[in-house]
Amino acid sequence: MQFNNFPLSPPRASNFAQEYDAIFYALVGLTAFFTLVVGVAVIFFAIRYKKGTRADRSRPMYENLFLELTWTIVPLVIGLVMFYFGTSLYVKMRTPPKNATEVFVIGKQWMWHVQHGNGVRENNTLHVPVGVPIKLTMISQDVLHAFYIPAFRVQEHVVPGRYTQLWFTPTEIGEYHLFCNMYCGTQHSEMGGKVVVMSQKEFASWLSEGGQSSAPLSMEQAGAKIYNKVGCNNCHGAEDTLRAPSLYGIYNKRRTFADGTSLIADEEYMRSSILRPYDHITSGYGQTMPIYEGQVTEEDVLNLVAYIKVLGTPTAPSPTSNVNRKSASATALGTNDATSLATNAVQANTDDPDASPTRRAGSPAVGAVAAEGRNR
């Protein structure tokens, strides 16, 4: 519970934040002032001129051109002044400097792919160096998304079929929220992650080491990615369900089938069960699994088989389960320290680089899910 925690402003971490906040607070002042003027006047009149009070009501006023012009021109002038400041900030936000470092972003339901100029890729996380102007060139693979970094005060839609741009210069080292802020379907609220602002030196070494997160995947890791991507995880979880048997620890075990025959679950059995599941239906289950023949490449199948072989052992990358996610995040909340964000920029990026879209990279939930997987 965070009841002692009523933050009143977002962190200020980009070149736009200071100017933005100045305009914002000026508008807050303006709003407070006029609300007070109207509020005080209304309450004062309501009390003073309440029916039955002995107030002076002589010479009532019904028209007054001077007053009307006053409250036509004053709001107009204030409006034009605010228009000027707002527009001048907007023009800056829409005009990236020529020397900006380019980073490319692809949005898709429900994750962000980021690609740096030297080929380093990351998901749901954006690493940037402090003090360097960064220009994002963005496109969506499916529906509308919006790339939103509150601490930087920047946001832009990510549109299918056309590039959009966003630029900023990070000014404070730290970790900040990254949100998708254009409703994009079921898991819209979980499409996001973090922006990591590093010192220029650390960023340079991060980038030259291939961003750690883009290290070549082991076959098991690649298999885990496909397992989640093609949806195996939706039915085959840690335990048998009505829909599907668990695949944990089935390697080299004997499987009994609906027609009474049985086989040892070797690599060949796994491959044929993925591509043509109805050749051998495990006893007790119906014909519910989709046929993957033609849907996945042989390379995918190899990786999947490698992954299924280690499923349920401590070395396995954890699968993402839609059932686990919520409880995991709830667990994470209990242990989450509100200050963990915006600190610790140097922390190595140990996130699963190809985390399934159902999981926020870098959120405490990831660790919790992994721990849960290992405990089984």
């Binding site: 933005y20 001129y49 006023m61 707002g86 509150p150 299918p160 409703y183």
Partner: protein, 573 residues
């Protein structure tokens, strides 16, 4: 023009027996469902729109409940998305847009201008049927699978990706939209052609001016959104390439077409409330509205400029920078007529003879809330400031300040004000006053924390925020406030219904108000006026000075004999 359906019995009874009114003239169900009487149609709208409001409120309650915990409470994301979509769609298309025009406007417009009915009574009834058929389709869609696009139906999600009941709901909104168009046509024709002798344009009550502006917006804007939604349906069903880039369309085009209607729709919702507030402030201050012409023309100015600002919803949509700047400039101009209204209402109270009865409490609450709602619009109308705030809870708070704090408070104030006229009964004004305060407090407690949430960067339409637990405290505050607000919205259903059972008879003019509607019986007879009224003076023809002198004379008598919680008799003119 045309005459309402008058039965033989009514013609015979009416002159001898003034107790016969539009409510008791006939009692059969078909006499309600086939009526041409604008007052009965208004009551049909009152019952049906209240039903939709109830459904929309349940959805709102579920949303607030779900957001008390960062990882959700009971719902799956899929369900949550359907529920916030249902909340928006029902509240906007089936309550906020029709509420004031179709309920209070329908009832009052002919009464206020001294007409026997609207210009096209059967078209008026047809409007209600279109509203109900549209509403039924929307509900069928929501029960039979729901719709998860949000009320904005942004493409290509709505046209190509969502596998929910989008088509059915869009067709429902399309049909319901035509009820707006026909109501608008009816109002414009009535105001132009059916004013009583002597009812010149500048003697019209400001509520009628507001209805006129609203009608123009409905007639000009609704067809655009109707066609746009139909195009989405065509793209869904026939893969007609309009909005989806996969087919060769442009997703941003949808936003232009949608907001071309939906921004004016904001004014369709708020202008009628402006009209009500003008009536309430003038009548409860016993004073002619200050700057009548400015207030009247500011409605027209808002309606006109309202068509030229749609692009301020799209500053970060990839539209051209120069386009955004022009839209921003025009948006700041709309602030001016809104400010004119606020200041004129406030000044009207100066040297008035103010009755603090329940409708006036709502009006005062409206002034405070709408001022905040309007001024926070400056944050969003400015291009640079909008970039960070758009689509966050700041926007949610802003438009609820305008839509709930403005339209709903205006509607409640108007309903309390004209309830005795509509039903002939007085409700308990003491409870009503307390309720107005409850609504005000509950409203601010619900929506003010959302401004801070948005400023902090909390995106709207988020089911989970476990990755940002710093938002939770404000969400809990907001949810607590919403239960107070919910209580304040349920209570009127009870005391207003009670007034029908045991309320005192109101008589024609319980408030001592001015306006033609108060010169006929409460409830009015089917033909509204037994003889055509002739208008000889200005609408808010109060004299606070002499009334005050009379008050002073009556003061002792008033304090010793009258129960302050009930309506004072206004017999000292």
């Amino acid at each position: 023009m045309s005459s309402p359906a008058i039965t033989k019995g009514e013609l015979k009874n009416q002159p001898q027996n003034e107790e016969v009114n539009y409510l008791n003239v006939e009692h059969t169900i078909s006499s309600w469902l086939l009526t041409g009487d604008h007052k009965r149609i208004a009551m049909l709208y009152l019952v049906s729109a209240s039903f939709f409001f109830f459904l929309g409120s349940i959805a709102a309650g579920l949303i607030r409940f779900e957001l008390t915990s960062p990882a959700g409470v009971v719902l799956e994301s899929e369900t949550y998305n359907k529920i916030f979509s249902a909340h928006g769609i029902i509240m906007i298309f089936q309550f906020l847009v029709p509420a004031i025009p179709a309920i209070l406007g329908n009832f009052l417009l002919p009464l206020m201008i001294g007409a026997r009915d609207l210009a096209f009574p059967r078209l008026n009834l047809a409007s209600w049927y279109m509203f109900m058929v549209g509403g039924a389709l929307i509900l069928i869609g929501m029960i039979g699978g729901g719709v998860d696009t949000g009320w904005t139906f942004y493409t290509p999600y709505s046209s190509m990706y969502s596998n929910t009941q989008v088509t059915l709901v869009l067709v429902g909104i399309f049909i319901s939209g035509f009820s707006s168009i026909t109501t608008g046509i009816n109002f414009v024709a009535t105001i132009h052609k059916m004013r009583a002798p002597g009812m010149t344009w500048f003697r019209l009550p400001l509520f009628v001016w507001a209805m006129y502006s609203t009608s123009l917006l409905m007639i000009l804007g609704t067809p655009v959104v109707a066609i746009t939604l139909l195009l989405v349906v065509f793209e869904r069903l026939f893969k007609l390439p309009i909005f989806s880039p996969e087919l060769g369309g442009d997703p941003v085009l949808f936003q232009h077409l949608f907001w071309f209607y939906s921004h004016p729709a904001v004014y369709i919702m708020i202008l009628p409330a402006f009209g009500i507030i003008s009536e309430l402030i003038a009548n409860f201050s016993r004073k002619r509205i200050f700057g009548y012409h400015f207030v009247a023309f500011s409605s027209i100015a808002i309606a006109g400029l309202g068509f030229l600002v749609w692009g301020h919803h799209m500053f970060i949509s990839s539209q051209s920078m120069y386009e955004s700047i022009v839209f921003s400039l025009i948006s700041f101009l709309v602030a001016v007529p809104s400010a004119i209204k606020i200041f004129n209402w406030t000044t009207t109270m100066y040297k008035g003879n103010i009755r603090l009865q329940s409708p006036m409490i709502y009006a005062i609450g409206f002034l405070g809330i709408f001022t905040v709602g309007g001024l926070t619009g400056l944050f969003l109308g400015g291009t640079g400031t909008d970039v960070h705030l758009t689509a966050t809870y700041f926007v949610v708070a802003h438009f609820h300040y305008v839509m709930v704090g403005g339209t709903l408070l205006g509607f409640l104030g108007g309903l309390h004000y004209w309830w005795p006229k509509m039903t002939g009964r007085l409700y308990n004004d003491g409870i009503a006053k307390v309720n107005a305060v409850i609504v005000f407090i509950g409203f601010n407690l619900t929506f003010f924390p959302q401004f801070i949430l948005g400023w902090m960067g909390m995106p709207r339409r988020y089911h989970y925020y476990y990755f940002a637990p710093e938002f939770q405290a404000y969400h809990i505050m907001s949810t607590l406030g919403s239960s107070v607000l919910g209580f304040g919205l349920i209570l009127p259903a009870f005391y207003l219904t009670m007034s029908l059972i045991n309320g005192k008879k109101s008589g024609p003019n319980p408030w001592g108000a001015h306006g033609l509607e108060w010169e006929t019986a409460s409830p009015p007879p089917t033909s509204n006026f037994l003889e055509t009224p002739i208008v000889l003076d200005e609408v808010y023809d109060f004299d606070p000075v002499s009334e005050h002198e009379q008050d002073m004379k009556d003061l002792d008598k008033w304090e010793s004999t009258t129960d302050h919680q009930s309506f004072p008799t206004e017999d000292h003119h």
